[in-house]
């Protein structure tokens, strides 16, 4: 019997429903980037280590390079593009900018999604909890110093 090589999937991304035929082996990250043209989610390592592709799937922060698009069938996905739907920056986005928590900006979308997942579940995290929450996200520019501060500040409503 020929194996199934593709499937029609329905995924809700940032509140919008998308129906697409995808190859069975298509990674979720490539589905988002190439099929839906949501290029804010990045690829950095191909092995699930760097977290640049982090999105929130059914309320859980996941690495979208570690999931097939067909596995996301019927789920609801939030990407960085969903953080500021009406153009007004999310408090985390504001804090990342005001604390200079990004330089090249390549890790930033994944970092923001991990941070959002943290604050959604733990609105008042300690520094250790923040560091643990972003442990799966590699940044090569900042040494994480300002990222940790920005997340802490966003948790406190923008205060230092």
């Amino acid at each position: 019997m020929e194996p199934v090589r593709g499937q029609r999937i329905t995924v809700e991304v940032n509140g919008e429903r998308h129906e697409r035929d995808v190859e069975a082996r298509r990674l979720l990250v490539h589905f988002l980037r190439d099929d839906l043209d949501l290029t804010g989610t990045h690829v950095g390592c191909d092995t699930g280590n760097c977290g640049a592709c982090t999105v929130i799937l059914n309320g859980v922060a996941i690495k979208s390079c570690m999931l097939l698009a067909v596995q996301a069938d019927g789920t609801s996905v939030e990407t960085v593009e969903g953080l500021s739907p009406d153009g007004e920056l999310h408090p985390l986005q504001e804090a990342f900018s005001s604390f200079h928590a990004l330089q090249c900006g390549y890790c930033t979308p994944g970092m923001l999604m991990s941070a959002k997942h943290l604050l959604d579940h733990n609105p008042e995290p300690t520094e250790g909890e923040i560091r643990r929450a972003i442990q799966g996200n590699i940044c090569r520019c900042t040494g994480y110093v300002n990222i940790v501060e920005a997340i802490a500040s966003a948790a406190k409503g923008g205060r230092r």
Binding site: T41, C50, F96, G143
Partner: protein, 828 residues
């Protein structure tokens, strides 16, 4: 050859003007952030074109082999495959890349794909283009390549041995370059010494900054005009175009380089011209746009590594009071399989010959060899990092062997603030700095005053505590004339960068840069400089994002590399903005009926008469008059365009090639780092429990941005010191080809980073600023220094390697004698 020109007694000094309170020195929010935090940046893999092909490289599984057969027919038969490219076609259609090395090694052949032979695991052999990423990868597996394996050269210290296999027929003994550097009077220093410390071997390891975004390109070919548009993340288009145009046998203007956002570079994205030529050939052959996005493993196995370097037979003459008179050593540098940016590293280290120390007598025999490993290239701190690590290791080993205090002996040997500008034994001029003060500040950050107490506390917990110090001289705005020291036939010297600033028809200020930023915030700092001159807000200044060589804002050395934007880039911005300000004033004076441009001033987006501020002309009217209503202007004002282009050229001179002498760079930012480690004596596992970094880069245009660079560079050096390494097995396979095996610091790995800064303005630059992106090397020294200090009660082992993962510390603890055997002290 022409006569050499010797540098003048004192370099040309740029007058510093008093700047009114403005935006320079202020933490202006970054212009780049709004798009980047929303995922609306445009990185290279975000660029899409209709019918675009995806390219996958078939790469060598062997470190060294002859290619006996390539068959792409099965791949071509696969549906969705558009075409392939093999070495034979590359050799027919392109010339080998220009080589910086002098003959004989300078005659080696480097092409976009392997031709007849592979020289490292991961070397591109065949390119396959197909309708999707997945198809390209599938088809690549169908390409058949037959190899005849050859013995690889893997140990740089034995690469030049008689009988060693040869990588390149043109490079006998696998030697790329060799030169002797002899400054001061080393023999006299040796005779004068009270003690001589000898170190048999110090080793600086291979690693790289591994930018999170891998290399890539989307290349389009325009058949009608013969022009390529290269959307890429190459960070030094000036260099890439010089390499690519002759290889492709076209004029430089046929290569249009475009980039917007780049996901980190750190030097590792300078040498992608090789793959870009393969993309150009494919785009032309297939007549369609082609995308190449490097896989992580490809970046690790076949991109730019930082050079490995070994220092042998080190000799340090020391006076009884701890004054070191200089050093002698043999350095062997490994550049990997090809010489893409090399052998420039053989001279670039000499920008910092004595490090931060007053060492006047230096004798260094420097050899660069090739091996069957990934090619090397610039990596944050390029070539100076290896050498500065060597100077700091020498300092700590001498201190330990002489029983001297590592802080006191440093201060005794540091170049002093009152000696600035300081000329080094090889004619470089350190512009400004106060190393002793930076050290004091760094020690303050780690609370050095109570270190004995902390040591006792650690002991009570069964831990060994150690304190370490390191330094970086972040030399920037380099003088490409130094290339003539490695190859006297080269016709490169000086440096330049360009910017254009214009006032558009509706009064908008628009700035274009020649640079290719990868996180360095050029849009923001350029706007700060423009705002101060035009007396507007940075928000009113529109700095175009990214780079396009067709903007006419591209000079021979354009790019973002080698710590220079604050000098060259902002120097160009300042020059162009001042030109524009003069033009606006001229128009304003005519329209407002003032006697001369000196009678008007700029303020808040208006030109105003000084004697009557009510008489004001908005910028919008200026832009409109010149661009769309110029018949109102007197004839003598019709040459005003309000579109000003300025090329900043630093005051460099040609170095003396024979003596290898001269000023090789313009500025010297510096950092002093201090750290505290706690080592578990049973396992060698250690933790960095405190860390302080002090930066001095002269005038800081935007302190928050500077501090961000300090944080990042420190993190990279902590990674390099602890876990990041590119080791190879005996067959030449890289053992750390992905982020599973190549462990970069995560948020939990990082110690608390404490930073502070002092400002010693550069007397030689337009804004008193210095480039400062490469400050991290200090951390590699500081961690090694702290480990040696922590282990001194455990048999006094000597740290001789820049890479110190836990198992190496355990080895030092278990067998201190092994490292001690590398050091001896001769008492006179």
């Amino acid at each position: 050859m022409s006569e050499t020109t010797v540098t003048p007694d004192q370099p040309i000094t740029v007058e510093r003007e008093e700047t009114a309170p403005g935006f320079i020195g202020v933490n202006v929010p970054r212009k780049e952030d709004k798009r980047l935090v929303q995922g609306e940046g445009v990185f290279v893999d975000d660029v899409k074109r209709h019918g675009m092909a995806y390219v996958h490289f078939v790469r060598s599984p062997y470190a060294h082999a002859a290619i006996s057969r390539i068959d792409v027919s099965k791949a071509m038969a696969r549906e969705g495959v558009y075409g392939t490219l093999i070495g034979e076609e590359v050799a027919a259609e392109t010339d080998p890349f220009f080589q910086i090395a002098p003959p004989p090694a300078g005659e080696l052949k480097d092409y976009a794909l392997a031709v007849g032979r592979v020289r490292h695991v991961g070397e591109p052999v065949v390119a396959v283009a197909a309708a999707s990423r997945e198809l390209a990868r599938d088809a690549a597996e169908l390409v058949e390549v037959d190899y005849e394996p050859l013995e690889p050269v893997l140990d740089p210290e034995h690469a030049a041995d008689p009988g060693a296999p040869q990588l390149h027929d043109e490079a006998p003994s696998n030697t790329i370059w060799q030169g002797n550097f002899d400054y001061g009077d080393y023999d006299a220093a040796l005779a004068e010494a009270d003690k001589v410390v000898r170190i048999k071997r110090l080793h600086f390891h291979r690693f790289s900054s591994t930018p999170l975004e891998t290399s890539g390109a989307v290349v389009e070919y325009n058949r009608g005009t013969g022009q390529w548009t290269i959307h890429s993340n190459n960070q030094f288009p000036g260099f890439a175009i010089i390499m690519m145009a002759p290889a492709l046998k076209v004029g430089m203007d046929k290569l249009r380089f475009v980039s917007q956002d780049i996901g980190g570079g750190f030097g590792n994205k300078i040498c992608t011209h090789v793959q870009l030529v393969a993309m150009c050939l494919l785009a032309r052959k297939l007549n369609r746009a082609v995308n190449w996005t490097e896989w992580r493993t490809d970046q690790h196995t076949a991109n730019s590594h930082g050079n490995e370097r070994v220092f042998l037979d080190v000799e340090v003459p020391v006076k009884a009071d701890g004054t070191m008179l200089g050093f002698k050593a043999r350095a062997i540098d490994d550049c990997g399989a090809f010489t893409r940016y090399e052998p420039l590293g053989c001279i670039i280290w000499a920008q910092v010959t004595p490090g931060v120390y007053r060492w006047r007598n230096v004798r260094l025999d420097f050899t660069q060899v090739c091996t069957n490993k990934s090619p090397c290239g610039p990596n944050r701190g390029y070539s100076r990092m290896q050498h500065l690590w060597f100077t700091e290791r020498v300092m700590d080993i001498v201190a330990q062997e002489l029983g001297a205090d590592p802080v006191e002996i440093r201060k005794r040997n540091y170049i002093r603030a009152d000696e600035m500008p300081y000329e080094t034994p090889n004619g470089c001029v350190y512009d400004s700095g106060d190393y002793a003060r930076c050290l004091d500040e760094a020690l303050e950050l780690i609370d050095y005053g109570s270190i004995d107490e902390k040591r006792r506390d650690a002991e009570s917990r069964g831990k060994l505590l150690g304190v370490g110090i390191g330094s970086t001289l972040d030399s920037g705005t380099n003088n490409f004339g130094q290339s003539t020291i490695v190859n006297p036939e080269l016709q490169f010297s000086g440096n330049n960068e360009v910017a254009t600033v214009k006032l558009d028809i509706f009064g908008e200020v628009v700035v274009t840069l020649g640079t290719t930023p990868q996180g360095q915030s050029h849009e923001t700092t350029a706007a700060q400089v423009v705002a101060d001159i035009l007396k507007v807000s940075p928000e009113d200044v529109n700095v175009r994002a990214g780079h396009d060589s067709y903007w006419n804002s591209h000079a021979g050395f354009s790019g973002t590399y080698a710590s220079q934007f604050a000098v060259t880039g902002l120097g160009a911005v300042k020059g162009a903005t001042e030109m524009l300000a003069e033009e606006i004033k001229k128009i304003g004076s005519v329209v407002l009926g003032a006697d001369s441009p000196d009678d008007v001033e700029l303020e808040g987006g208006f030109v105003r008469r000084k004697d009557n501020p009510e008489a004001a002309l908005p910028f919008m009217a200026c832009g409109a008059i010149v661009n769309a209503n110029n018949a109102v202007l007197p004839l003598e004002y019709r040459d005003i365009t309000l579109n000003c282009r300025y090329v900043y050229v630093p005051p460099h001179q040609l170095p003396d090639k024979e003596r290898k002498y001269g000023n090789l760079t313009l500025t010297y930012a510096n950092q002093i780092h201090a750290c505290v480690v706690e080592v578990d004596p049973e396992t060698g596992v250690y933790e960095i429990v405190d860390y302080g970094a002090v930066d001095d880069c002269g005038v800081r245009i935007n302190p928050l941005i500077v501090e961000g660079q300090v944080h990042g560079a420190a993190a990279q050096s902590i990674g390099a010191a602890t876990h990041e390494t590119f080791p190879y097995d005996e067959d030449g396979n890289l053992l750390t080809p992905n982020f599973y095996d190549y462990h970069v610091p995560h948020a939990l790995d990082m110690p608390p980073l404490k930073t502070t800064s002092i400002e010693s303005p550069s007397p030689f630059t337009p804004l008193g600023a210095k480039g400062m992106g490469e400050g991290g090397g200090a951390g590699i020294s500081a961690v090694g220094s702290a480990l040696q200090d922590a282990l001194r009660g455990s048999g006094k082992p000597v740290v001789t390697n820049s890479s110190n993962p836990y198992h190496r510390v355990w080895e030092l603890l278990r067998n201190p004698e092994e490292s001690r055997a590398l050091v001896e002290v001769e008492e006179r």
